[in-house]
Symmetry: C2
Subunit: 415 residues, 2 copies
């Protein structure tokens, strides 16, 4: 089964907006078992839309079109589809009721222009938009499906999931495809590939592994396709376990949409434990990640961002002698920072970072990218040194995740 | 003049990668005066590439193709272009020399497979890739130009700017187009539109204004096109001044690629002044923004992220009475936080934030999104209250920028 993903909108063509809708739909339809023939972006012009429909309907089984459904005159999609499929406008009553409520709860008048958004061609099946004002439309031509969805990403995703996806699943005969993404931290792509190479080479037919790297975090997606759902469910569980075993609990922190900062937060919450941080090179990013999790105040007390050495001394209690003899980026100083944060902020655990994020400040012994990370616990202080490269933002991001993971592994090993 | 932007690569079609190359090229070519006819993504298949070339060459003046130039077997672009334009492979000597050096400096052997990357069809003009291994290629067919660039974004951008752009400018007769983007903070899109509406309605022909919003920052792009470069240069300067006057120095912080955190850093650096922060609701993000600027240690000393009330009291010296009577999110507490950070960290200036980022913790008097921001200076303490909405990440981001801007305006007003 082939699918085309069509985006209509000048704002995409002039580069004002990056087309994330196409990527999202590409992943969704691929996961359903469609092969994507093309992604195409065209302007808000009736002729361009008609030419595209001719070509796509001739070659693909499913067309998903996004954009061009707004109430203003520069949006041409609905009128063009009405003419192309020989329809006339009729009111879609569920959409009209939704619009009346939508505007009433916002204390706004339902204008004539907005009321007309409830009109759809009588040759389509309307798809109710619970998240905005423009309904989606589903046309069928012989065996081909043509779906038109709004361009606003959360509206598009909502209609797709609630209205279009169930219809596609019921009507198309698609292979069974299952995916699981294993989330890892602390191993590079090359190190991971080395550890997995024998296993990867022996993977059964229909089993695929994709590497999805981002700074500090490497996501590994297993995809299995075939005919027998029970067999595939069993096989994907087995493959996931094998993969997790090869990489180890020190590196695997979750699956799918998990976030390291939330996984760590949950561990602390379950134990009634509290956390503080002391940051030099990460400059507040560690605190920012931890506090991006709603409810973090239940376990997180705060951070001392000690960019200046005097603050490391005065607030965290690092000894001037250690800074003088070993340097601010050293095992001795980072351990004192972690212990100082733990004592000063009164928590069970503390994470500390000290490093050279660059672009300047490196020396032959301590090049840019050298980062010391320490975790202080009620019983001990553990520290590690990493070489994280010369890209400043990347170094800050990776060091933050490595700090979170060092504490995660210490908590897991001791419980 | 029309242009097509073609992306070749399965990883885009399956949604593994968002196509940022197309958006970047769309903005670049639009700015040059091209009208983008379509953006198209197709698989690594010779037949799909040939069909696309036929159609694009028939309709557009310029095709920019990215992707599919790697040395592995799944990349088909170079072989397909060679056959399409009836060429045979010849070695591009500058690329071969570059490859030898590229691999030598990385202590890697130049394999036969990689050596073949220096081969290009003799029917193209090679475009040297100083940033990677695969060269670009420029074919011409009658008056039409077909450029093939690698898919890795920084390689693509490098070849475009160094090799392709000068050739396009020299050969195509394009209208003169000038752009300037005015950067603002602290006004919503609707407030800005209200202030600008008379001015916008009276804009001359050929002058366009685009609103480019992001959390906390609103970028306003003025575009002017025409024939006479001297006139356009004068007009865009005038329009920029008018726009900046209408919005005011309290909101306009820079132009084009400026960043608020770097603009503030430069002000502090010029004055030899120092800065500290005290953060509750922004949870370290303010410190993270400030320290994302290379060399921030020259003026930034650190932050107290005081998530727990005890830390506001013990380290920042907020009185328990203020927290008890006014609450942690109050003018009294946020001003004490700023003063405490200034005194404790020994700086001229301090910024403090205290608010309810949500999703829970709101009350009828202080709903989610209520944020107090204070700046302490050697002479005074200034504070403001904002309602920043119920989206946690957005609230944290906007509050951070508003805090930076409050200090920026105070410094600018006093100098």
């Amino acid at each position: 089964m082939q699918a085309d993903i069509i985006t209509i909108g000048d704002e995409i063509l002039i580069g004002q907006i990056v087309n994330t809708n196409a990527a999202w739909l590409g992943a969704e339809l691929t996961q359903l078992g469609f092969s994507i023939r093309r992604m195409l972006t065209i302007p808000d012009l009736a002729e361009a839309i008609r030419d595209t429909l001719d070509d796509s309907i001739a070659h693909s089984d499913l067309l998903v079109i996004t954009g061009g459904l707004g109430p203003t005159n520069d949006d041409k999609t609905k009128d063009t589809l009405k003419a192309y499929f020989n329809g006339k406008f009729v009111v879609h009553v569920p959409t009209l009721l939704h619009l009346e409520q939508f505007f009433a709860t916002r204390n706004r008048e339902l204008s004539e222009r907005n009321r007309r958004q409830a009109e759809v061609p009588d040759t389509c099946e309307p798809l109710l938009n619970r998240h905005g004002t423009a309904p989606g439309m589903l046309f069928r031509k012989q065996e081909k499906w043509i779906a038109s969805l709004p361009g606003v990403p959360f509206e598009m995703k909502g209609i797709y999931e609630e209205e279009l996806l169930p219809r596609i699943k019921a009507a198309f005969r698609l292979p069974v495809i299952k995916q699981v993404t294993v989330l890892t931290v602390g191993l590079s792509e090359a190190e991971t590939a080395d550890r997995l190479s024998d296993w990867e080479n022996s993977l059964e037919n229909g089993v695929a592994l994709a590497y999805l790297p981002s700074p500090g975090i490497l996501r590994l997606r297993i995809t299995i396709s075939g005919e027998n759902e029970i067999y595939i469910n069993r096989l994907i569980k087995k493959k996931q376990q094998e993969l997790e075993q090869l990489l180890g609990a020190a590196h695997v922190f979750g699956t799918n949409e998990d976030q390291l900062e939330a996984v760590l937060g949950q561990l602390l919450r379950e134990r009634g434990a509290t956390l503080a941080t002391a940051e030099s090179c990460t400059g507040g990013n560690l605190a920012h990640l931890i506090t991006s999790v709603p409810g973090a105040s239940a376990y997180y007390r705060g951070s001392i961002v000690a960019y200046a050495n005097e603050i490391k001394q005065e607030i965290l209690g690092v000894t001037p002698q250690s800074i003088h003899e070993k340097g601010a980026v050293s095992q001795e100083v980072v351990e004192q920072m972690a212990q100082g944060a733990r004592a000063r902020l009164g928590t069970q655990y503390a994470i500390a970072t000290s490093g050279i994020a660059g672009p300047t400040g490196g020396t032959p012994e301590k090049p840019v990218g050298t980062v010391w990370i320490a975790v202080a616990t009620p019983n001990t202080t553990v520290s590690r040194c990493f070489a994280l490269g010369t890209h400043r933002e990347r170094c800050i991001s990776v060091a933050s995740y490595y700090g979170l993971n060092l504490l995660r592994t210490i908590i897991c090993e001791n419980s």
